[in-house]
Symmetry: C2
Subunit: 346 residues, 2 copies
């Protein structure tokens, strides 16, 4: 069962070690180590000599040895949540890209791992205890997700992309995007263009993110003295749900515009419009959320709220650095504002 193969593949060329460099430069190992990690400690001519030796030999420090000694791996773990086919994964994709990019500049690499089976916690433990990663980036801190609590209990260093919605005791650093501000932006945009009956299609009530986004819509509506009664629908995040919900809303309340909690739902609205021969953007306005691939490619372009994932990644990495530098630091949260990408549907 657990008989993993112990076969070892050697790197064909024997990599030079610190000692090799030291010998060549005529200094001690420690001096070479300092030349790499604390150049300020060396006299300039010694530094130059060592650096030349390093260059000539093509020396690169051995990670495993360094990791062992320093008890750090310079890796951050990121769990890939199971793919839900049909649900927009673009967000994660963009975020991962940004994260990898930003991490590199901070001297970190990203280690991907997958949750195995039903228990989302499995996998974290081994990686942490085996010192495979220094910290985690946690992405789905939705209601009831035990990851944050669990990680806190284990004193595992982590930064969350997503607010600790209902965990009052949470003291961990997090970065999130102000979803309500996004939908408010979207709704105002529609109201400014003359719409008065703007409908909402969002997620089920137990989704904190969904309720947050909904609140932006409702705030914008009430701000202008408009009623939201009968204009909201809460469904699952799927194409079919969006389609059905929009059909129902059109029949019952005749809204002239839709704001949706996701691009997937917005696409559902577009289906309904197509079914009825209505033109998105001309007859009925539609706004999605996430600025996914689909939003960019569909005709005539889906107006959508775009999360500043690049900035999120930067903030996450910064938090990570702070966290690892001073473990007992006071945790901080950061809320970033999304933008509205206007296209043909609104």
């Amino acid at each position: 069962m657990d008989s993993r193969s112990r076969t070892v593949t050697r790197i064909p060329v024997n990599a030079p070690t610190l000692a090799d460099v030291a010998e060549r430069a005529g200094v001690s190992r420690q001096t070479v180590s300092n030349a790499v990690n604390n150049p300020d400690l060396l006299r300039s001519d010694t530094l130059l000599r060592v650096q030349r030796a390093i260059g000539e030999l093509g020396y690169v420090p051995n990670r495993a040895a360094r990791n062992l000694r320093t008890r750090a791996s310079h890796l951050v773990g990121l769990r890939m949540s199971p793919v839900l086919e049909g649900v927009a994964t673009t967000v994660m994709d963009r975020f991962v890209h940004s994260l990898v990019w930003t991490s590199r500049e901070a001297g970190y690499h990203v280690l991907l791992f997958s949750g195995e089976g039903p228990d989302p916690l499995e996998g974290y433990d081994d990686l942490l205890r085996s010192t495979a990663v220094d910290a985690f980036v946690v992405t789905d801190t939705y209601l009831g997700n035990p990851q944050a609590v669990w990680l806190r209990e284990r004193r595992a260093p982590f930064v969350a992309f997503g607010r600790p919605w209902d965990d009052v005791e949470a003291r961990h650093p997090w970065v999130d995007v102000d979803g309500a501000a996004g939908t408010e932006l979207a709704t105002r945009h529609l109201l400014d263009r003359g719409h008065t009956k703007v409908a909402w299609i969002g997620w089920r009530k137990d989704s904190r993110i969904g309720e947050d986004r909904r609140s932006g819509w409702s705030r914008a509506m009430h701000e202008r003295g408009l009623s939201t009664t009968g204009l909201a629908s809460r469904v699952e995040d799927s194409l079919g749900s969006g389609r059905d919900a929009s059909a129902h809303l059109l029949d019952e309340a005749q809204p002239s515009a839709f704001v949706c909690a996701s691009d997937t739902l917005a696409m559902g609205v577009l289906h309904t419009l197509a079914d009825r021969g209505l033109h998105p953007g001309r007859d009925v306005a539609v706004v999605g959320f996430d600025d996914s691939q689909v939003a960019q490619l569909v005709h005539p372009g889906l107006t959508s709220v775009r999360q500043p994932l690049e900035e999120v990644a930067i903030a996450v990495v910064r938090s990570l650095e702070d966290l690892l530098a001073t473990p007992s630091q006071v945790a901080d949260g950061l809320l970033l504002s999304p933008t509205l990408v206007v296209r043909g549907t609104a």
Copy 2:
């Protein structure tokens, strides 16, 4: 004796080591090591005793130490190519997911890193030489991409997702999807439904992948004795290009169906159809390639060629295991067949 300093300032909780387990179980370190890596070597009662000690202490082997000794990291490196906004990244996303999942079962984790700047090779070198990864998975082996050649020269273990198109000397393992078979499938599907003028919109001639996919279309056409003259267009992979190319083709050759080298191009065709008040699937058929998010969500559903990325990932990992087990093995290539996902547009 084992006089480990109790005044550790770094990490409050000292993870138990092999020696701790050994002491508790009343055996030597080596025996514990064997219990973990080669259970067969132990007498069953000893094994049980050690396993109990492991469980009681919650022992997890330290990766860094193991990596140092065995000169292996059990990590595979995957380079994230720069994001091209607007181009379907769904393929990579799905592939990465599958790869992470499959790797886990093989005892590997995936290390993401990013190409920095213009040189796609930078990054590989450091990771390899610093023994940060055991091997690489290379994803874009398109024409002129020097990665494969470079990696071969360095004798870096790697498996490619993608054929070594024009590198006759290539001896590395690879896995690829038969794009021509996919477009052939798509074209036949259209021909079977009565279409005779099936147009092609693909990539520029210097793209080997593009030419391969094109060949599937042309093969299927000629097979039925149909001419392809004036029915093909080669453009950049963008929405606008697809839109323009399809408009031009409709004007010049009046095709009743389009087969495209990508979903992005296919979406361009849908734009043209929308511009002209034509209904996809009813007036003009359209088939894309990659079965991206967009294909699934757009109205009325874009028929598309789907790559078996899960199988690709499995094959890649298998190759990786073989490669690392027997470095001098004869390289093999594997070509998998895509499928056609039929939706509303065809």
